[in-house]
Amino acid sequence: MLDFFTTRHDQPASEAPAVTLEAFAGQSNAVAVRIEAGEDARELLPYLDRLQLIEVNFPAFTDGRGYSAARILREQGYDGELRATGAVLVDQIGHMVRCGFDSFGPDQPLDPIALKAALGRFPQRYQKAADAARPIWALRHGSKHG
């Protein structure tokens, strides 16, 4: 069973302690921050260059705000480690990857076999999101799109 999982194969996962968003504002040397579900990811936009790790917490797997937070950060050019923590279950990881998460610190360990099956499940995607996958409409209409 996996207590931690990452798709960042080229770099090790950050072990920097993630400070709260509120604490981050007062600490010019913090390189890791943690956002709660109700907090605004855009508050980090001025600091994306110096952040190594942003954790986005899912208090319940039914609370989807973290998906938007992740996508917003990737859209704004953040390319550090983006970690989903909390209620992270195997059946949600595919969505999380698509929204730009590349590491996962679940509350409950993950079954590696179920995880592998979940990640390989869908051959294509209908929408362009924060991952590198080209959406189906781009495949249909040639390489100049998507």
Partner: protein, 543 residues
């Protein structure tokens, strides 16, 4: 109609495999019910009052004969030989086993169907106008955009855990045949200086706090509809309430924030999103639209109909609507036989309708949000044969938009959310008004019944609406008047104290009598109510 390419097919096949795996993990205990519930809901599988219930998607209400035959097959093989067509143009099966559900989804996938996102806190089936493609008043067929949006919304990773369910309707005419303004997002295709695009309404809905969706943007070009809708959904996902299930819909957010502030936030998000290349090229919408080109109508056909059989003539007058192609007609098939169950069809009836669609209507049929069926392209010369076949199967009731064409949710007979039974009330009302002459004298009268405040029976949008409530363990019914889901959208008003099951039928009858006593000119019930107001009705109801 749309046909899957290899990509579409691969997606539904993968979804079937995913659900099969998730079901196995539930049955062997790797998943708890709390973990499995959102997963099965996103495949339309509810645990309902009597059994598991499966809601199969009928995208924008359009089906081929082959697909309807598969729906009939599923009813026979896995259920109790019937299905129920819903107010969102979908079909529900009430007696499903979890252990069969993966096989059912596989059978559906074999005919390009699915149950993806027909439940759960995600974007649901996108509904549309049952006369799409054949209505003279449409600016374009709304279904290509509906199909584009179906694909865009399917498995959308950001919107997989919204605060609550999300329903979208797309129409393309000023006349609203799909209750568009009562959806979370309603889209009306409009023509602006020769360019067709989307007029967007956000924040409609029924339920506990019914609201009519305000316009948020008067025009979005097709090239930007996806990024605009992503902006609308993102603002909702981030700021919709998650503290209270009854205040979690987008209508509450738009109302509490104010539409101006909601619009402002959407525009801000949209300005950013539309630079990211997430919009499909217009070529994709054009590709989809090729599947919705008009069928090969025969030219020069006669518009004559042999009306000598009075029963046939009566059916033609009520059920047959004009078609934009000379010699053709739109046939409405009633699933509201007097004393029957609104929206239910047996597998034999489904097979019959499939045969008629294949033979007489270019292999296509539609489900309406009023729980009836439409054959959109029937030659007038074929109407007698179609009618005869329908009559033989109990499908020729001539009551479209009349008082016995009742919309009724399944209610307490089937639904664990319900507070009262709706079907017996619908049956009693239909039986009270069964006389055809009486129905026609009353004219257009849209009566809608919900068994609870969730309003799946659209009671807020009924000219006459009935809401079932639980009054200390006893079923009780509130009467509402003056609602409309059409372009003259309005929300029904409660008359006063509720009635018991017999009392509500009498109350409906009294209300119709007030209309008959007061109507002027060619007024419908709804028009008379709007002119004279609630008081004359209250006076009679509570005398």
């Amino acid at each position: 109609m749309y046909q899957y390419d290899k990509y579409d097919q691969a997606m539904v096949d993968a979804r079937v495999a995913e659900f099969r795996d998730q079901t196995e993990r539930r049955l062997n205990g790797q998943l708890t019910e709390a973990q499995f519930r959102p997963l099965r809901l996103m495949n339309g599988l509810y645990l309902q009052l009597h059994a598991y219930m499966l809601r199969v998607a009928v995208p924008y209400g359009t089906l081929s004969a082959r697909q309807l035959r598969m729906l009939a097959h599923i009813a026979r093989k896995y259920d109790r030989d019937y299905g129920h067509f819903t107010t969102r143009q979908n079909i529900q099966y009430n007696w499903i086993k979890l252990s069969d559900a993966p096989d059912i989804l596989a059978d559906l996938a074999s005919v390009e169907m699915h149950a993806i996102q027909t439940s759960g806190n995600c974007i649901r089936n996108i509904s549309s106008d049952q006369y799409a493609g054949v209505a003279a008043d449409e600016v374009a067929d709304p279904r290509p955009l509906a199909e584009l949006l179906r694909q865009w919304s399917s498995f959308h990773p950001e919107f997989v855990a919204l605060p609550r369910k999300f329903k979208i309707a797309v129409i393309a005419s000023a006349e609203d045949r799909a209750a568009m303004r009562l959806h979370d997002i309603g889209i009306e295709l409009v023509n602006k200086d020769g360019v067709i695009g989307a007029r967007v309404f956000v924040g409609g809905g029924m339920g506990r706090t019914p609201m009519i969706a305000p316009e948020v943007r008067d025009f979005v070009p097709f090239e930007e509809v996806v990024s605009y809708l992503e902006a609308c959904l993102r603002v909702y996902n981030r700021y919709g309430r998650r503290d209270n299930k009854y205040k979690a819909r987008i209508k509450i957010l738009v109302h509490e924030m104010g539409v101006d502030e909601y619009r402002r936030q959407v525009e801000e998000e949209f300005l950013h999103l539309k630079t990211l290349g997430i919009d499909p090229p217009i070529a994709e919408l054009e590709r989809i639209a090729t599947y919705f080109a008009p069928p090969p109508y025969k030219q020069g056909l006669s518009d004559e109909i042999d009306r000598r059989d009075p029963a046939f003539a009566q059916w033609v007058d009520q059920q047959v609507a004009p078609h934009k192609q000379p010699g053709y007609a739109i046939v409405n098939i009633s699933l509201k036989p007097i004393g029957g169950i609104a929206g239910d069809a047996s597998s034999a009836q489904m097979d019959l309708i499939a045969d008629l669609a294949e033979r007489y209507s270019f292999d296509e049929l539609r489900v309406t949000h009023a729980q009836n069926i439409v054959l959109a392209h029937v030659k007038k010369a074929d109407l007698p044969a179609v009618w005869k076949a329908l009559a033989g199967a109990g499908l020729a009731t001539a009551n479209l938009d009349l008082i016995t064409d009742i919309i009724a949710c399944p209610g307490l007979d089937y639904c664990s959310l319900a507070n009262a039974r709706s079907i017996p009330v619908a049956q009693k009302i239909a039986e009270r008004f069964a006389d055809t002459g009486r129905q026609q004298d009353l004219g257009e009268l849209k009566l809608k019944i919900s068994g609870c405040i969730n309003a799946c029976g659209h009671h807020h949008a009924g000219h006459i609406g009935i809401l079932g409530v639980d009054r200390k363990g006893v079923e009780n019914y509130q009467l509402l008047l003056g609602g409309s889901g059409a372009e003259d959208v309005s929300l029904g008003q409660i008359t006063g104290p509720g009635f018991d099951e017999n009392g509500i039928v009498d109350a409906v009858e009294k209300a119709t009598q007030v209309y008959l006593d007061n109507r002027e000119g060619g007024e419908r019930f709804l028009d008379t109510y709007r002119r004279i107001g609630m008081k004359p009705f209250k006076d009679v109801l509570y005398a």
